[in-house]
C-alpha cells in the first residue's frame, strides 16, 4: 500500500540492525518527525537525510510527516499537543519563530521545548558574473560613493535576509533599495538579468548558478569562513559588521524526560561525526553546530528575543 507512513516504517524495519546504543533503550518504538515544509523542501530533505543515518544509531523507526498550512503554525500546534514521551518532534528553523511573532497563533514557538540545534545554514552575498564587483568591499565602496543608487534583493518580505540587508544599508549609509521576492527563484532571475546589484541567500539555493559560473560570491555572512570556500572572506573581514544566523534543529512538546534528551544528544553527536553523513552535509555546506537541550533552549530564547527586537524596531510587529 502506498501510505507514506507505512512505507517509512517498512523501509525502516528493513534497515534496523541491533541498536548500537545498548546502554539506554529509547522509550518508544516509532518517532514521528514533523515539518511544515512540503516533500522536497528544505526541512523535509534535512529530516529525510538525517533519519537515514540516525536509524541504525538509535534503533527506532522514523517517519516524516509533512503538516502544511498556517505558515508552520499547524505543524507546531500538532507537535505541541503530542504526548511528551519522545514520540514526536518538530524540525525547527527560524520560520517558526517568525510566524509566531507575525501572527501570534494559539501555539507559538514557545509552546515547544527545544531539543537540539543541529546545523547552522550559512548565508552568502552574491552578484552576477558580469558585475564589476569582485568583493563585498568593492560593492560597499561603490554604494558609499553613490548613495541611493544600489539595488539589493532578498527572498521573502520580513525574512532574516531582508532584515540583514536593511541593517547593512544603514550600517554603510548606502540607502539601497532593498527588494523582497517570492522565494529564491524570483530573486535569482533579477540578479542574473542585472536588475539587482546584490542578492543574499543560502548556498544550497544558489549552487546550480554558482557551478555554472553565472554568479560570483562576494562574502559569507557568518562568524568564520566556510571550510569549502576558504577564499571567501566574511562580511566582517570586509568591514561590514553583519552576521546572519540560520539554524536547523528539533523541538518537542514540553515535558520530555531528561533521559530521552540525553539519548538524542548522544545519537546526534555520533551521527554528525560519521563520515557518510559528514560527506552528505558538507556537500550542502551545512555547518554542524550541535547543542544539547539546555544550550538549545538558551539559544532559541536569545534568538527569538533578537528577531523580535529587530521586527519591533522596524515596526513589523508591535
Amino acid at each position: 500500500m502506498l501510505t507514506r507512513r507505512s512505507f517509512a516504517a517498512a523501509s525502516a524495519a528493513a534497515l534496523v540492525p541491533s541498536p548500537l546504543l545498548a546502554q539506554a533503550r529509547y522509550p518508544v518504538p516509532t518517532v514521528t518527525l514533523v515539518t511544515h515544509s512540503s516533500p522536497g523542501g528544505g526541512s523535509d530533505v534535512f529530516l529525510r537525510e538525517l533519519i537515514k543515518h540516525l536509524q541504525p544509531v538509535m534503533g527506532v523507526n522514523f517517519a516524516v510527516e509533512n503538516v502544511r498550512g498556517g505558515s508552520g503554525a499547524t505543524a507546531v500546534a500538532r507537535v505541541a499537543r503530542a504526548r511528551p514521551d519522545g514520540s514526536m518532534f518538530y524540525a525547527t528553523t527560524p520560520t517558526y519563530i517568525q510566524t509566531t511573532l507575525l501572527s501570534r497563533p494559539e501555539f507559538g514557538y514557545d509552546a515547544l521545548d527545544p531539543l537540539a540545534i543541529v546545523f547552522l545554514d550559512p548565508e552568502v552575498i552574491y552578484t552576477r558574473a558580469e558585475s564589476p564587483f569582485r568583493t563585498l568591499a568593492d560593492a560597499v565602496a561603490h554604494a558609499k560613493a553613490n548613495p541611493g543608487r544600489q539595488k539589493w534583493g532578498a527572498a521573502n518580505p520580513a525574512s532574516l535576509e531582508r532584515i540583514a540587508f536593511e541593517r547593512m544599508s544603514r550600517l554603510i549609509g548606502a540607502r539601497a533599495a532593498v527588494v523582497s521576492h517570492e522565494g529564491g527563484g524570483d530573486l535569482m532571475i533579477n540578479v542574473l538579468n542585472g536588475t539587482l546589484d546584490l542578492g543574499i541567500g543560502e548556498i544550497q539555493e544558489i549552487r546550480s548558478q554558482l557551478e555554472a559560473g553565472r554568479i560570483r560570491l562576494l562574502a559569507v555572512v557568518t562568524e568564520a569562513r566556510l571550510p569549502d570556500f576558504p577564499d571567501l572572506a566574511t562580511a566582517r573581514e570586509q568591514g561590514v559588521d553583519l552576521v546572519v544566523t540560520k539554524f536547523r534543529g528539533l523541538a518537542g512538546p514540553k515535558g520530555i524526560p531528561d533521559e530521552v534528551a540525553a539519548i538524542w544528544h548522544e545519537a546526534l553527536r555520533r551521527v554528525l561525526e560519521s563520515p557518510a553523513y559528514r560527506a552528505q552535509y558538507a556537500k550542502e555546506s551545512l555547518v554542524p553546530a550541535l547543542m544539547a537541550r539546555d544550550e538549545a533552549r538558551r539559544f532559541t530564547t536569545a534568538f527569538a528575543a533578537e528577531v523580535e527586537r529587530d521586527l519591533r524596531e522596524l515596526g513589523v510587529v508591535r
Binding site: 500500500m1 502506498l2 501510505t3 507514506r4 507512513r5 507505512s6 510527516e65 503538516v67 500538532r78 499537543r81 518580505p157 520580513a158 531582508r162 532584515i163 536593511e166 523582497s180 524596531e313 522596524l314 515596526g315 513589523v316 508591535r318
Partner: protein, 152 residues
C-alpha cells in the same frame, strides 16, 4: 425583486464592501520595511475601483432601469444544502472523516430526492469507505479520526 432593485442592491453592497475594505486597509500598520505605496496602497486603490463601479451601477439602474424579471431560484433549497455542508465541517473533527463523509453523502442524497432505504444507506457507506480508502490509505493524507473516538 425586479432586475433594477437587484442591481441597485448590488451596487450599494459593492459600495459598502469598498468602504469596509478601505477602512481595514487604512488600519494596516506601516512598518519601516514598507515602500512608498505601503501595504494599504493597492487595497485602497482596489476599493476605489469597486466603489466607482458600484456607484455607476446604482446610477444607471436608477436612470435607466432594466425591465426583465430575473429568475426566482429556490434560495431555501440552497440554504438547506449549505447547512448540511456546514454541519459536516463542524462534525468532521468530532466524529472523524469516514463517518462524517458517509453521513454527509447520505444526507445530501436524501435531501436531493433519493428514496430512503437500504440503497441509500449502502451508498452512504460506500462513499465513506471508498473516499477513506483513496484519501487516507492510498494517498496517506491524515484526515481527522474523530476526537470522540480518541483520535486527533
Amino acid at each position: 425583486m425586479n432586475a433594477a432593485t437587484r442591481d441597485i442592491t448590488l451596487g450599494i453592497a459593492a459600495l459598502a464592501v469598498a468602504g469596509v475594505w478601505w477602512a481595514l486597509a487604512a488600519a494596516i500598520p506601516v512598518s519601516l520595511l514598507a515602500d512608498a505605496v505601503g501595504p494599504g496602497g493597492v487595497p485602497k486603490a482596489v476599493a476605489m475601483l469597486m466603489a466607482a463601479a458600484g456607484a455607476v451601477l446604482v446610477l444607471r439602474s436608477v436612470l435607466r432601469p432594466a425591465r426583465e424579471r430575473p429568475a426566482r431560484p429556490a434560495h431555501g433549497r440552497a440554504a438547506g444544502l449549505l447547512a448540511l455542508l456546514l454541519a459536516y465541517v463542524l462534525g468532521l473533527p468530532l466524529i472523524g472523516y469516514p463517518l462524517a463523509l458517509g453521513l454527509l453523502a447520505g444526507a445530501v442524497a436524501l435531501y436531493a430526492g433519493a428514496r430512503p432505504g437500504l440503497g441509500l444507506a449502502g451508498f452512504a457507506a460506500a462513499i465513506g469507505a471508498l473516499f477513506w480508502f483513496v484519501f487516507v490509505r492510498v494517498m496517506g493524507i491524515p484526515f481527522p479520526a474523530g476526537t470522540l473516538f480518541g483520535g486527533l
